[in-house]
């Protein structure tokens, strides 16, 4: 079975600073990896996904993530954050070729301060 660990529950940063949200996964089989964003009282929006191919994945809103198989990581990065990026971010994994039952991390609350 897969498991996903988000190492930071809260990350405060200043506007225009870079940010990295960390995600590690554990799985005995190949996985697909995802990052989602959740704004208050809303559903989850898919930011980006890694299915295969290039290990650097670019998503919406200027975010990107890099799949590192040797370190079993899929960290999310943005070079310069905006106030509007304040939200909760979830990393998720699912087994390749399965029914895509996502296993989620517990989330990282990103707060961007002026």
């Amino acid at each position: 079975a897969q498991s996903v660990t988000q190492l930071d529950s809260q990350v405060p940063v200043f506007e225009e600073a870079p940010v990295e949200l960390r995600c590690n996964y554990s799985s005995s089989v190949s996985v697909y990896l995802f990052w989602y964003v959740q704004y208050p009282n809303q559903g989850l929006q898919l930011l980006l996904k890694y299915l295969s191919g290039s290990t650097l994945v670019k998503g919406i809103n200027g975010f990107e993530a890099e799949f590192n198989k040797s370190q079993t990581s899929f960290h999310l990065r943005k070079p310069s954050v905006h106030i509007s990026d304040t939200a909760e971010y979830f990393c998720a994994a699912t087994r390749q070729g399965g029914s895509e039952k996502l296993v989620f991390g517990k989330g990282t609350k990103l707060t961007v301060n002026p």
Binding site: Y32, Q42, G43, L44, K49, L51, F90, E100, G105, K106
Partner: protein, 111 residues
Amino acid sequence: SQTIHQWPATLVQPVGSPLSLECTVEGTSNPNLYWYRQAAGRGLQLLFYSVGIGQISSEVPQNLSASRPQDRQFILSSKKLLLSDSGFYLCAWGNTGTGVYFGAGTRLSVL
């Protein structure tokens, strides 16, 4: 393009009352469908998933049930709500290799 509709957005129900939350998907056929719950301050927990009409798998034993009467319709139900059923319920759909996409969610308060 694909869209997912989930309603109602908010719901306040007394303990012991029944529940029915509905979710429909447009623009795709034979999707995998999911119900997740997000309790306050906690992550997302998969409750049910379905790979086809009438095929429901339950991930955790609980007071809830799910049904899929049509290809793109997924319903979450309860006969008698408990206080512990309060939370944010999210319906989602996916196809192999496409990712999983979520509805806007239903915030359920059981009082």
